[in-house]
């Protein structure tokens, strides 16, 4: 486990809607008192800022005026692996989020929720309780199963028995609380499993990209 809880001092928020920007700022400040927040409404400025600075938390929208937030997520995951990356979105389905999670996001916030809920969720991500929607869980489950069957999956990228169970229950719509009751493990352990699933998703997608690049003669 490389990801240990660390203090969030510097946050970067990239969001083009002013209202949402304001909301995310409020949520960020309420969650991490004393945090410094840097706000941008496009990818370019955010990327430029990151060349000089570093952040502990990146809150990013996906559909930005000058591109897809997913690209920046992948860059930050490479340059600052310790940074907690969170997607701010209004859609939690696999079509919109999966690529961002593969790129290295550790969770997501649904912007239509109340400030109190958002604060709780962000805290959860930082405490190791990342959210995972049923549709994404199903897609993950399918993806890992297909790769396991094709045996292109090195052992460290495949899910453990427990992680598969957790993922299966999420896919059935169970909440973290229900899962911890069902599997008789603590809520934190459930969170750890989910974090691991995220991590393995990111590792295996990068490994796949590398293999693909090698195959194409770019490696």
């Amino acid at each position: 486990m490389t990801q240990t809880a660390h203090k969030i001092r510097q946050a970067l928020i990239i969001e083009d809607l002013p209202d949402s920007q304001a909301l995310l700022l409020t949520v960020c400040q309420q969650t991490f008192p004393g945090v410094t927040c840097q706000l941008f409404d496009n990818l370019h400025d955010g990327r430029l800022w990151l060349t000089e600075n570093r952040c502990d938390l990146l809150l990013i929208d996906l559909g930005l005026p000058d591109g897809d937030g997913t690209d920046l997520i992948a860059e930050v995951k490479q340059s600052a692996p310790d940074c907690t990356i969170v997607v701010a979105t209004i859609f939690d389905d696999d079509q919109h989020l999966f690529a961002a999670l593969q790129a290295g996001a550790m969770g997501y916030l649904l912007k239509d929720q109340s400030t109190a809920q958002l604060v709780r969720q962000l805290q959860g991500i930082e405490d190791g309780q990342p959210p995972l929607s049923a549709s994404i869980a199903r897609r993950l489950l399918n993806g890992f199963q297909v790769r396991a069957q094709a045996q292109t999956q090195p052992a460290q990228h495949s899910l453990s028995q427990r992680e598969q169970e957790v993922l299966g229950l999420i896919a059935r719509g169970f909440s973290s609380n229900e899962i911890s009751g069902f599997l008789e493990i603590s809520r934190h352990t459930v969170g750890d499993h989910i974090k691991n699933i995220y991590r393995k998703l990111n590792i295996s997608s990068r490994a796949e990209a590398t293999r693909e690049a090698l195959r194409l003669g770019l490696g």
Partner: protein, 720 residues
């Protein structure tokens, strides 16, 4: 050539067999018919008189003394009425039987007197006369032998025409082709009622002897090479010369000892066949498949041959009466040929495949229909008192439709270009990819009517074009796109060869199908793209605006309205992205959504739904209605009742045959449901629910509790 058209060849073989049978039937009909029959029992000749109006009709056997008319008188000899003249031990007796036939034939149809004694020694005189033979006079033994002869040639011919390059198939055919004349020849004289002209009997007997010797000789050679070629096979030319010489010696009667010249050689050959069978058996010890086939083949052949030879030869050696007549023993050959025909199917004797049965069935079908035609003519011809009107009615309304039905069922219509090919091809293109191959093969089967059609996976797929193989016996259709290559053998049920035109036609078919599949894919891609575009627009424009609205309405009573609108938009976009979703997944999404909302409102949610839910897809409209209704009901409860607990329950999972029942109940209600004013949302949903055949009812079991029961019929599932 016939080799390339097995169906045609088999028809020709059948016709030949029918022709040969016709000759023997014709010959049998030329013989005189006697209304009594001769019987040899314990070495004594008896006479049984059939019903005769004038003379003492007696069922008691008579002992014949003399037969006479004005010209001649004959003292009957026992051997005159032996079934087969070769049932004696010396050629002297054999020749005498044949010579005396002409004496008997000389009676003609003139009146004659038979003097005899009954078993008590009293003289009996019987005046009778011979008459021309009718078809119905021929005994069942005679017909049985015709059937066996026909079957022998047809079944061996069938094996031969499909496997003509195989030595064992050739030997089997040769053996049966020699058996047929032997049986037919014997059938004429052995079922005679009175006599056969001497020269006929002489030559028929020669045919019978030579045919039998050749049959056994070819069978002997067959066992040298089937199923395994034994080392002794290399001596076959010597063996052939030896056996031919033996047949010549027998024909020329080089000795008076018939037993030595005829029966002993055949007997020895059968012993040799048994020895070879044992040899083959041992040779196949390491090959269980071959052994299973051999077991079947051997039992068929050995049972029939052993019984026949035991009957006609061993019994002769022992000087006992045969337990059944020679004609009856011929029926044992039925065991052989039916056994082999069954074995071909079960054990692939001679390496024949199951499809080869189609040729045989087809021939049998057309033969049966010809027979029906003949029977109709016979019935019409015989029934003089059948009125013209009735005859027309029978033929037109009963017979012809029946014949057509039989023809379609058993023989099928002759090949004709199919005008429905275009719609069929188009239907294939619209089928799911995994079903296309099967539909494609079905189309090729229907169009070319090959005897055998299978995937040709080993074929070189790069040629891209159809090609002929084995001089037109085979048409290979290359793979195209996702379609695997296919091999077709024996066009039009084996009635013709594949030709250049077929190749061109197959090529245009594959190209057309490829084009159709391609167009279909483009079309689907267009749909998918458009769907994605709509989803993106909804997401980018409406989503952003709704979110803006939500931000403006935060901390006002209308905040929830905007949130519900976003939720609905979310499901709409989900539905656009993946129109089909399983029941289990739909409920999982609903559960997450509802539990999130309950958690936000600090309401305790109890979700009582079976752990295993059907993974069958819901119709998109059902999924949308179900999602909207549950969402609306939960919203209403949260907004109006300020509950502390919500229970969503489904006691039994729905299935293809059981309806869906769900109940949403909550506490904290203040007004009675009777006074509810249904908002637009719920009214609208109730209407949509009714359109799907479902219903919704509200109950208030306790003052502070309300439960809403939701029912949907078992028709909610999307077609698989």
């Amino acid at each position: 050539m016939l080799f390339n058209r097995p169906s045609l060849a088999l028809h020709a073989t059948t016709l030949l067999a029918i022709f040969c049978c016709s000759i023997s039937i014709w010959m049998a009909l030329q013989l005189p018919q006697f209304d009594g029959h001769w019987l040899i029992k314990n070495g004594t000749l008896y006479l049984h008189a059939d019903a005769d109006p004038d003379t003492p009709p007696t069922s008691r056997p008579l002992i014949p003394v003399s037969v006479s008319n004005r010209q001649q008188q004959i003292i009957p000899e026992r051997n005159d009425f032996l079934e087969d003249p070769d049932f004696v031990d010396r050629y002297q007796d054999y020749n005498r039987i044949i010579q005396r036939q002409d004496l008997w034939s000389a009676f003609g149809y003139a009146p004659l007197v038979i003097r005899a004694t009954d078993t008590n020694g009293n003289p009996v005189e019987w005046q009778t006369h011979l008459r021309p033979r009718q078809l119905q006079d021929l005994p069942k033994e005679f017909w049985l032998q015709q059937v066996v002869a026909l079957l022998a040639l047809v079944i061996s011919g069938w094996v031969f025409w499909l496997r003509h390059n195989d030595t064992s198939a050739r030997l089997f055919f040769a053996s049966s082709a020699c058996l047929m004349p032997a049986i037919l020849a014997a059938s004429v004289y052995s079922t005679r009622s009175w006599s056969v002209p001497s020269d006929w009997m002489l030559w028929l007997s020669h045919i019978n002897h030579i045919g039998t010797e050749a049959t056994v000789a070819f069978m002997l050679m067959l066992f040298m090479t089937y199923p395994q070629r034994l080392p002794v096979w290399r001596y076959w030319p010597g063996l052939a010369v030896l056996l031919a010489a033996q047949a010549w010696i027998e024909f020329r009667q080089w000795s008076d000892n018939l037993e030595l010249l005829l029966r002993w050689p055949v007997f020895m050959e059968i012993i040799a066949i048994l020895l070879l069978a044992v040899w083959q058996w041992r040779a196949s010890a390491r090959n269980p498949l071959q052994r299973a086939a051999l077991r079947w083949f051997l039992s068929s052949i050995l049972i029939s041959i052993t019984l026949i030879s035991w009957n006609s030869m061993v019994v002769n050696f022992l000087g006992l009466d045969a337990p059944f007549s020679q004609s009856d023993s011929i029926a044992l050959f039925l065991i052989l040929y039916l056994g082999i025909a069954l074995g071909l199917r079960r054990y692939r004797l001679f390496d024949m495949d199951i499809w080869s049965y189609r040729t045989l069935l087809w021939t049998a079908g057309s033969g049966l229909i010809l027979l029906l035609d003949y029977l109709l003519l016979a019935v019409m011809g015989l029934s003089h008192n059948l009125s013209m009107g009735l005859a027309l009615f029978l033929t037109g309304w009963i017979y012809l439709p029946l014949r057509q039905w039989l023809w379609n069922r058993m023989v099928g219509s002759p090949w004709q270009p199919d005008n429905n090919l275009m719609p069929q091809l188009s239907a294939i293109a619209w089928q799911p990819p995994e079903q296309r191959q099967q539909a494609w093969q079905a189309l090729l089967q229907a169009h070319f009517q090959p005897l055998h059609l299978h995937r040709a996976n080993g074929m070189d797929a790069d040629t891209g074009s159809a090609q002929l193989a084995n001089d037109g016996q085979q048409l290979l259709i290359a793979s195209h796109g996702e379609l695997a290559p296919v091999s077709l053998e024996f066009a039009q049920r084996g009635a013709r060869l594949f030709n250049r035109q077929d190749v061109r036609f197959a090529n245009s078919l594959t190209q057309l199908l490829e084009q159709l599949i391609h167009d279909r894919r483009d079309y689907q891609q267009g749909i998918d793209e458009e769907r994605r575009r709509i989803g993106r627009d909804l997401h980018d424009n409406i989503g952003a605006r709704l979110l803006k609205l939500l931000h403006r309405l935060r901390n006002t009573p209308n905040e929830e309205l905007a949130r519900d609108a976003i939720l609905d938009l979310r499901s709409t976009i989900n539905a656009i992205d993946s129109p089909l979703q399983s029941f289990a997944d739909t409920l999982a999404d609903l559960r997450i959504e509802i539990s999130g909302r309950c958690e936000a409102a600090s309401v305790h949610l109890t979700w009582q739904v079976p752990f295993e839910l059907p993974t069958d897809n819901l119709k998109p409209v059902v999924r949308s209605v179900l999602t909207s209704i549950l969402r609306e009901l939960v919203s209403n409860a949260l907004r109006h009742a300020t509950p502390t607990a919500i229970v969503i329950s489904m006691p039994v999972a729905p299935s293809m045959s059981t309806p869906l029942h769900m109940e949403i109940s909550n506490n904290g209600l203040h007004t009675s449901p009777d006074h509810w004013q249904e908002g637009y949302g719920l009214r609208n949903l109730r209407g949509r629910l009714q359109e799907l055949g479902g219903s919704l009812s509200v109950q208030q079991p306790q003052a502070d509790q309300v439960s809403i029961h939701l029912t949907l019929p078992a028709t909610i599932w999307a077609k698989p």
